[in-house]
């Protein structure tokens, strides 16, 4: 954010705008105020402090607005597996909708493989629970530790072939 503002200000157009604004303000000030008049330092300090406050508040608002406008990633990495209920826990992400089918991809040695098919079981205020529906037997065991979980990526996308396999399996199992 700061980098963006910095590059904006310290650019040719930024410098031109700055010179224009300073010139405009000084011309307005000289029309209405006597510049040869002496003013107390306390008024100068007060105006500087107010200006700094205003700039900080505006920067904060701009920062929040930029953050809010950022699109969410189309995937989430689970940070916990709860074995009792068989769910992966991920951060809340609007790309994951209740009851939809998701794919849990294992990323090992640069290879991306669909390891589990799951569903969005529950959306909480800050978390989402992903229940595993089918284990495609890509991994020997369900990852539990933090390092193992970092190798899993959950996306709201499942290849048609895998989905058809799941439906067939569900149909056979009843």
């Amino acid at each position: 954010m700061l980098k963006k503002i910095g590059s904006g200000v310290f650019s040719l157009s930024g410098a031109a705008i700055l010179i224009g604004v300073i010139g405009g303000i000084s011309s307005v000030v000289t029309i209405f105020m006597n510049t040869s008049e002496q003013v107390s330092v306390k008024w100068v300090l007060l105006s500087v402090i107010l200006a700094v406050y205003m700039i900080i508040i505006l920067l904060k608002i701009a920062h929040d607005a930029v953050d809010a406008g950022k699109p969410l990633p189309a995937f989430e990495r689970p940070f916990k597996f709860v074995p009792d209920v068989g769910v992966f826990v991920i951060h809340k992400n609007e790309n994951f909708v209740m009851n939809t089918i998701v794919g849990c991809y294992s990323q090992e040695d640069g290879i991306d493989r669909l390891a589990y098919i799951g569903t969005v079981l529950l959306i909480q205020s800050q978390l989402i629970q992903i229940k595993i529906l089918a284990d495609l037997e890509v991994l020997k065991s369900i990852p539990v530790g933090p390092d193992e979980l970092k190798l899993i990526e959950i996306r709201p996308v499942v290849p048609l072939e895998s989905l058809q396999r799941l439906i067939r399996q569900e149909h056979e199992n009843g």
Partner: protein
Amino acid sequence: MVDRYFGKVVRVSDEYSVVVNVGDNHNVKLGQRFLLIGIGETIMDPDTGETLEQLEIVRGKVSVTHVQEKISTLTSCEVERDRDTKETRRQSPNTLTALTKMFGDGESVTEVTKLGVERIKPLSNPQPGDFIIKL
């Protein structure tokens, strides 16, 4: 009680039904559907160490089967189906078919698929103090 939670389980009747502390006074209607959840462990963000929230453990989906003034009875409304079974019936040749056997066409085989029985899914370990969320 948090706004998200509409009511609380006050009694577990059996593995299919629970009684909650909201009824006609909270405008509960027959057939209304809820998600029954229990409160689990507190989840922390491993990267920031920040406490996120408590995990909600889904016990099952329930619908209102009886409403009283201050309480309601909710019953599991999820359905599970047994596995389909395939049955193969072989019909031994009779006199007429014995003749046809001579020409290479013997016993008849019929495969029948018996659909699995559908039944109400029991709730997953419901406890007094569990909450219901509107669906």
